[in-house]
Amino acid sequence: MSAVGLIARDEIRLMTRNRVAIIAFVLVVLLTLVAVASSWAHQREIAELRARQAEAAETAFKAQPDRHPHRVVHYGTFIFRPLGPLAAFDPGVDAFTGNSMFLEGHRQNSANFGDVRQSSLLVRFGQLTPAFVLQVVAPLLLIFLGYGALARETERGTVRVLMLQGAGRGQIVRGKLLALGAAALLAGLPAMIGLAAISGQPGALAWPMLAIALGYAGYLALWTVLILLVSASVRRSRDALLALVAVWAVAVVLLPRVAPDLASAAVPLTNRLQTEVAVARDLRTMGDSHNPDDPHFAQFKRALLARYGVAKVEDLPINYKGAVGIEGERLTSAVYGRYATANHVAQARQNALVDAMGLLSPTIALRSLSMAAAGTDLAGHQRFLEQAEAYRYALVQRLNRMQMEDVSYADDGATDAGADRRKRVSARKWQAMPDFRFIAPDGRTLAAAALPGLAIVFAWLAGALILLMVASRRLGAR
């Protein structure tokens, strides 16, 4: 066996003879297994629940009787964001962004304006997921296993004993890296097996899984190197432990908690109430289709009459009320869309700030890449919102068009005994309407979204390796 292998074997022998280390290791492995099992079961439960609810909402929508299309517009429907299988590994922001939406005419509802990014890691402390165990708990385990790897040898003088047997500084460091790396691999293995098990599910994607596996492998490798770097840089193992716990507390707990707050302070988001008030104010100034003196709708009416070459709305070949509904929906959607876009831009700026802080904490970079690859980051939520709004707009305008084309203007305003029946449109019309189907991005898109975070994690790893090489030159010199 080579010197590196011998040193690694001895370090592992030391770990296995340390009862506390063994107990801690077993606990972390058990924690990961529980996290994998519970997270997977939870994800499947949520997925089934949402599928059931979506089906129920679709059934209820299609079960509407023959009725006036505008009543269908206000009847509305619920849609649900389906969970991808990788959400079992990292549920990301799903738990606090909302995942259902009520679609109706004249307004965009629900999570569009939720303060999604203001929630932070503390929220996730309540969730036991494989991602959480690997991001937060595994580094702590590695610290307790490896803080003394080099500092202990320096402190007790055995580093010189190793060197006197002909082992070079590089061999000593590589041996310790190998031992702690093996421990990291074992600690991460249950979660990776869970990830592989998820791959058996339909919908799981190879590229994002590869990005996740690479990201976490790089992250644990980084901690392995960081631990040895600190252990090589101090003279006493107690100092190494204190320094490493401090680094863990700042990089893993503090910065990921503070980063969203800093981003919120730098780019404030309007809260839901403020947005509602502002939208209502804009809608009031936009125009009133029921007011004959409203300049916008007066102009709209003139243009419509001119286009059809008639003098009054009763002579139009279409139902004027339906046409007004279409125009009104276009205007209100534009107002909501404007606020939604502003909100999304602000959130994207917050995200960019948080991601930039990944340069200070690799945990932030890892969280970003993990959520991005799992499709559970804010971009995934944004994707859902955009598709939901596109579906809502198309649905409402389709109903408005039905009113315009299938219900006559005269009947629409009539109040005689048979008028109500004449205003109705056949239920077959909404039964034939397409259902909402969330189109998930393909694997390459998800993996590409994880690349910036991946690059930061590996840049950290490269930097730490260089520093370790420098620090190891002083091994045995004191």
Partner: protein, 252 residues
């Protein structure tokens, strides 16, 4: 026999130090030190505190780089190729550092394997026995060992190494008189196999017992060097009177 027979190369003077100087900042520690230790001989280096004994060993081991002068171990410069030099040296420090999570046998096995000189269990236990470690301690972890017991483990490891150079730093400081006498006999066996042995010590009596030469270090250089003279070897009382050194045991 637990001591390896083969030594690398027909080196006549495996340890060669010539006009060596070294200083910590402005404090001169070695000041023109010259010393040669032929193969198959024991040289004792005596001197008071701060005379430069440990610095000399550290320089030979490649941990300290001399300011000027020439140092060679088996023809190699420890400053430029410390790993290669260390593979040719067995070193027994005054304060033995070994692994407490390992047993005596495991310590020896690990360190010998690292040096590329792995030996069987029987050879290791024979060396431990020869170093004076009781057999019930062979398979105990070093956590509960006394300084003397650790010293014996380190002695066993040093003697099992197949190397041409043995450096000893106060090797008997943790040993009782019986163990000290046994250790002296072991050293003589090692010398017979052609090993160049350099022993740093305060103890003139033990040096006089086994050394072929005694070098007296003063102010960073060898002030006097005396050789064993006939079967009577050294006249310890005369040496003590002449150099006023190593008086602990003598005075007692």
């Amino acid at each position: 026999m637990f001591i390896a027979e083969d030594l690398t190369g027909p080196m006549t003077e495996p340890i060669l130090i010539d006009d060596l100087t070294f200083a910590y900042d402005t404090h001169d520690v070695l000041n023109g030190l010259s010393l040669r230790v032929p193969a198959g001989s024991i040289t004792a280096l005596l001197g008071g505190n701060g005379a430069g004994k440990s610095t000399t060993l550290s320089t030979l081991l490649g941990f300290t780089r001399a300011r000027s002068g020439r140092v060679e171990v088996c023809g190699m410069d420890p400053a430029t190729d410390p790993d290669a030099v260390r593979r040719r040296i067995a070193y027994l420090p005054e304060n033995v550092a070994l692994y407490e999570h390992l047993t005596a046998v495991e310590n020896a096995d690990y360190l010998l394997a690292l040096s590329g000189e792995r030996q069987g269990h029987d050879a290791i236990t024979a060396a431990l026995a020869a170093a004076g470690l009781q057999d019930q301690a062979w398979h105990q972890r070093l956590g509960g060992f006394s300084k003397g017991m650790r010293q014996k483990v380190a002695i066993a490891v040093a003697l099992l190494r197949r190397v041409p150079v043995l450096l000893l730093d106060e090797p008997t400081s943790g040993l009782d008189p019986r163990a000290t006498a046994d250790f002296s006999q072991l050293l003589l066996q090692v010398r017979e196999r052609g090993t160049a042995i350099l022993m740093v010590t305060h103890d003139l009596l033990s040096a006089a017992d086994i050394a072929d030469r005694i070098a007296f270090l003063e102010a960073g250089r060898v002030a006097h060097e005396v050789r064993a003279d006939g079967p009577e070897r050294f006249d310890v009382r005369a040496l003590h009177a002449r150099f006023q050194l190593g008086g602990d045991r003598l005075a007692a």
